[in-house]
């Protein structure tokens, strides 16, 4: 009984200060343009960092169309370089050079987080894309699935983090032609 009285005594002033943070990350009928960094890792003995540009348009609050264009600056990984140096052999995988994907981005949940004195509004999103992985030899059909966060940073600016799985089909001299890779991307953009 004494504990309950003490709890009421402590919480009543706090309840008096509670305020509701309104939803600030509004996407419906807005364009989101961003640019950033990406890295395609698919176990092909190439390191493939890149620059990516994204443009999304949300006809509805829950989802939007998305276009991604990336330039990848692939080079032989250290182990691949070592094999090449010693034997002159190179991976039979194509060397990734770019990505061109279109797809749909869908909001799974909306959240807010207080970090220090800042409150961040964000979307937890899932996305699916199809398009092409451009390699040194061909434009290969590609498909990606990703999940990530769209984070409001200010009235106009936002950040986006996607962790994706990319698969593509490419004709290889010896190994299996269907490949899977990890495709994280981090970008900062402006809401239009």
């Amino acid at each position: 009984m004494r504990a309950l009285a003490l709890a009421l005594f402590v919480s009543l002033p706090a309840l008096a200060q509670t305020r509701v943070e309104p939803r600030l990350l509004i996407k419906e009928h807005h364009f989101f343009a961003s640019g950033g960094l990406t890295w395609l890792a698919r176990g092909d003995y190439y390191d493939s960092p890149g620059l990516i540009a994204q443009l999304s348009y949300y006809p509805i609050e829950q989802g939007g169309l998305d276009v991604q264009i990336a330039g990848l600056f692939s080079f032989l990984s250290t182990s691949g370089e070592e094999v090449f140096r010693v034997s002159g052999l190179v991976p039979d995988a194509h060397m990734p050079q770019g990505l061109l994907l279109v797809g749909w981005r869908h909001t799974l949940a909306y959240g807010k987080a207080a970090i220090g004195s800042q409150i961040f509004h964000f979307d937890l999103q899932g996305a699916g894309h199809i398009g092409t992985l451009i390699t040194d030899r061909a434009w290969t059909p590609a498909l990606s699935l990703s999940g990530g966060l769209l984070v409001r940073m200010s009235d106009r600016f936002f950040g986006q983090l996607d962790l994706g799985l990319l698969t593509n089909y490419e004709n290889r001299q010896q190994s299996f032609p269907v490949n899977f890779g990890f495709l994280p991307l981090l970008s900062i953009g402006i809401e239009l």
Binding site: Y45, V86, S87, L89, P91
Partner: protein, 319 residues
């Protein structure tokens, strides 16, 4: 050693990921097939009809003999435009088979000798059409006379005559003949059709004189111009390739002494069309136009192999 180590490193690494290592400048390979073909030559068709018929009704004896002689003549004419008939020997003039007529071997041999003298470049082989319609065993003297004729012709010509039996099944089982046709009855159109068809399948006889060719180039001039090295992948036993390395070994192409081959074919003299074998002798060669010391893999489980070190051809099944 370094190469093997490198390949091993490559394979080891490949096993970890889904990617395999390949040579960015693989050997430029192609396969060519050298081929030597011969064709048989049709020999003049010489034939002899031996009539040994039994006809109960003496009135139809002449008809039966004329009918069969006519059928034989027409069938032979259809078979070959270059045909010569020896005089028919009638061994049963009264169609009783008891006349005791003896096969005139000497006259046959004389005729054949004459024909051989007139056709010195041909390989004449007498086709003996022996017609006997009686469904009984041949009298021993008749079998003996046929054997004697065969032996003497063999001695004369160097090869036996071709005995074509038109008879009952009983005789066909007893007499060793090169070909048989069933005798049904005189005037049977079905018998004529079958006889003609079987003659057409076998005649005229074909010859191919055994060949030992001159040494001739294994590769065409365009192949010689492009290729740097070569390997012999396979060759038929009739081919000999002097100076060419053993199967699967790489050799540098020397344009002043290009690889050559020689063909040795066994003779086939005056054999039936169905028995005649057309000879085509082949040799497969793998040519390397560049990067001949570079790597290829012929089996997913194997290491990359340098083409001119690896013993064997690689293009077939190469990855």
């Amino acid at each position: 050693m370094t190469t093997n180590k490198a390949a091993a490193i490559g394979v080891a690494l490949c096993a970890c990921g889904g990617t395999l290592f390949v040579d960015p400048n693989p050997p430029q390979l192609r396969r060519v097939v050298a081929q030597y073909s011969t064709h048989g030559a049709a020999e003049p068709l010489i034939y002899l009809s031996l009539l040994d018929l039994y006809v109960e009704d003496p009135n139809t004896c002449g008809f039966a003999k004329n009918w069969f002689s006519d059928v034989t003549q027409k069938a032979m004419q259809e078979t070959s435009s270059n045909q010569l008939a020896l005089a028919t020997q009638d061994l049963a003039p009264q169609c009783t088979q008891r006349e005791g007529v003896i096969l005139d071997t000497e006259s046959i041999l004389r005729d054949v000798q004459l024909l051989m003298a007139n056709n010195p470049l041909s390989h004449l082989r007498l086709v003996i059409v022996y017609a006997n319609n009686l469904n009984l065993s041949l009298p021993p003297e008749r079998s003996e006379s046929l054997r004697t004729l065969s032996a003497r012709l063999t001695a004369l010509q160097g090869w036996p005559p071709l005995l074509w039996l038109v008879s009952s099944k009983v005789i066909a089982k007893e007499v060793f003949a090169d070909a048989t046709s069933d005798w049904t009855y005189a005037g049977d159109p079905a018998m004529v059709t079958a006889f003609r068809a079987s003659l057409k399948l076998a005649l005229p006889l074909q010859s191919e004189v055994g060949t030992v060719s001159q040494l001739q180039p294994l590769l065409s001039s365009s192949d010689l111009g492009r290729a740097q090295q070569f390997k012999l992948c396979s060759s038929d036993p009739e081919a000999t390739l002097p100076g060419v390395p053993v199967l699967g070994m790489a050799a540098t192409l020397n344009r002043s002494t290009p690889p050559a081959w020689q063909i040795t074919l066994p003779p086939q003299i005056a054999v039936t069309k169905v028995g005649f074998t057309l000879h085509t002798v082949k040799a497969q060669v793998e040519l390397c136009d560049g990067n001949c010391d570079r790597y290829l893999k012929i089996d997913p489980d194997q290491l990359q192999q340098s083409w001119n070190v690896f013993r064997g051809c690689m293009l077939e099944g190469a990855k």
